[in-house]
Symmetry: C2
Subunit: 383 residues, 2 copies
């Protein structure tokens, strides 16, 4: 049985639009974001609300393909299609949008998106290790802060930023706690159900209230008995490109095949939860702490991307992972190429099966995916 | 009739390997490069020779697809395939290779290439306008200089660098002179033939001798009579991704259809020829002059990329262009997305037809390309 407070999160996004309307009527502004590299602490410290705008459904893709190439990541096409067809209420509610140069497709798509809505671009270096890359990225954060201050006539104080940094850290800690319950099977939900809760992070209107809800949920879960409801089900780690309601076909097929998706190592899942912002640095220099933290995120846009391999190892070792599915959206070159190294690394080090899938938002390959995933699950069961 | 000295260039690359062998025997080192962002002046000032390694032929692609995704730019796959199958004598001759983060595909491909040959990565910012991007890029140039100095036990003096900067400027000036003859039809060669000469720039062993050859060729051409041999042939500008011997099917189809490809606005063609290095800055600070110049190159990896639009306008206005073909290699997201803006910009401003083609190194679409190009040429003739 699911915890009672689970429902608060399952219906969270539906209530979000109403909350956004209320917040706007009190003078707050809304920033649309498309990436976990968008520094939400800065937006919140400036008095704004960030909402995630990445498209997860295939419906707006046809509209996008009037301007974008067909042979492009479905997430990018879906995101652009929503904007171009004006069919996303969150996009409509956003005062401005912030883009990042994480990948070629998004970078150039944002040039077109900037014609529809005021856009601020952040230039992300793809080197997480060099000190001049950190300096550059910090300057990009400063530039974003100035953009917010000028655009909305506000001032971002160090104090407000530090407060938001601590709030983010506490929210992420609560998510790690929740995931720990998922790991131990105390939280009796599927990976698909967990995703619904994880997705609510993109729509936080009031971070303190959100944190409180999470704490309440965790406290309730901790009072539940541990039931080995999923004993014997292969434990899967899903890695790769982001997944959401509407683009979760691989999770659904995996769980219909009798597995449980214990870990989602992607940016809609748990990728960003293991990089707390250094509060000691933040107390003295919150912008520096932000810059340091965001540059550590293990996205495949980084080259090399050692943190992703470390994070995968952590999950495989500590979450009892028996098989890895690496899912790449069509034409996402960075994840698609990194898939080769990920597969080799995991197979050599852990001797568990790795399945790499390249797919899109359509339903046309579902039969083929089912066949491949069933064979993969069979390998785990017999392995 | 072609000028007598044309033959020196047509056979240049064949003789290059012998020259490379000779140079190596005198202790010189060879740096393999994959991009016009690679600062050849630094390599030469360090006593090295740069050779271009971008794959132009389909043969090694099957080998590359053992590790790289099939749905990737053929140039990247061809380049990697040559290295992985050890079938490129220039790759074999290279002591080290230098990569740049110009696009997602190359960036991640270089991670794999670095296992085969010592690799130095340069992190290119995609913002050509911000001062902190220039600072960052200068630091990347400094890092490359230190790499060369340490690796080969040499010292790059400001004097040597300034000398190479001036040589590059003079070589580019000679190419602009040659292109001017091509524009005016004094140089009676096709676009495909011109490409062969342009390609020799990637294999310059002795820049002074190379400059001398170019000057001699230009002097000879200037003594030829102007013959309107191509009067009435539609004058085409080809833009987009790079083209070389082996990947020149679109040029061949265009010229077989009775047009002349007057301009090649791509990195194997004329894209880099219109950005001289500022010698006044270079006299005081050659590294700064290099950084400034390279960051102005109008590659679609830049966002925004205003210089490309300016360069296209320059060519269309001054080279009597009647139609534009924008060719994108499969899955090159930056050029593929920018194609939308290029087409709209040119059609609105110049009212000439623009044809966008996405293709690869195979021959399978040649019939289809011929049909589309013939219809395009018909539009020009009847326009």
């Amino acid at each position: 049985m699911k915890p009672n407070h689970w429902n608060d999160f399952e219906t969270y996004n539906e209530r979000c639009l109403l909350k956004l309307d209320q917040a706007r009527s009190t003078g707050r502004f809304i920033v649309g974001v498309y990436c976990i590299f968008a520094p939400v602490e800065l937006i919140r410290a400036a008095g704004g609300i960030s909402v995630g705008l990445c498209g997860k459904k295939p419906d707006p893709i046809a509209r996008a393909e009037e301007e974008l190439p067909a042979n492009l990541c479905p997430l990018i096409k879906s995101s652009y299609g929503y904007a171009a067809s004006d069919t996303c209420p969150y996009f409509a509610a956003s005062d401005v949008i912030v883009g990042e140069t994480t990948c070629d497709g998004k970078k150039k798509m944002f040039e077109l998106l900037g014609r529809i809505k005021p856009l601020h671009m952040m230039y992300l270096p793809s080197n997480m290790e060099a000190s001049h890359a950190l300096d550059f990225w910090r300057k990009e954060l400063e530039r974003f802060r100035m953009f917010l201050e000028e655009r909305f006539g506000v001032s971002v104080t160090g104090e407000a930023l530090f407060r938001q940094i601590r709030l983010t850290n506490r929210i992420q800690k609560e998510f790690r706690r929740l995931i720990e319950h998922h790991r131990s099977c105390r939280l009796p939900v599927s990976g698909g159900e967990l995703l619904v809760v994880l997705e609510t992070r993109g729509f936080i209107v009031d971070p303190e209230a959100y944190l409180h809800h999470l704490e309440t949920l965790n406290a309730e879960v901790e009072a539940l008995p541990v039931v080995e409801a999923r004993a014997g089900m292969p434990r899967i780690l899903l890695t790769g490109t982001p997944v959401g309601k509407g683009s979760d076909k691989v999770i659904r097929i995996l769980e219909n095949a009798g597995t449980v998706v214990i870990v989602q190592e992607n940016c809609t899942g748990m990728k960003s939860l293991f990089y707390p912002i250094d509060e000691e640095v933040a107390a003295a220099d919150p912008m520096q702490a932000l810059a340091m933290r965001y540059l550590q995120l293990p996205c495949s846009c980084m080259s090399p991307n050692p943190n992703r391999f470390r994070l995968l190892e952590h999950f495989i070792r500590n979450f009892g992972i028996q098989g890895v599915v690496d899912m790449t959206w069509q034409c996402c070159h960075t994840y698609n190429i990194e898939a080769f190294s990920v597969k080799r690394h995991i197979e050599e080090r852990f001797h568990i099966p790795v399945l790499h899938l390249e797919t899109d938002y359509s339903t046309s390959d579902i039969g083929q995916l089912e066949t491949r995933i069933e064979a993969f699950v069979e390998r785990i069961r017999s392995g």
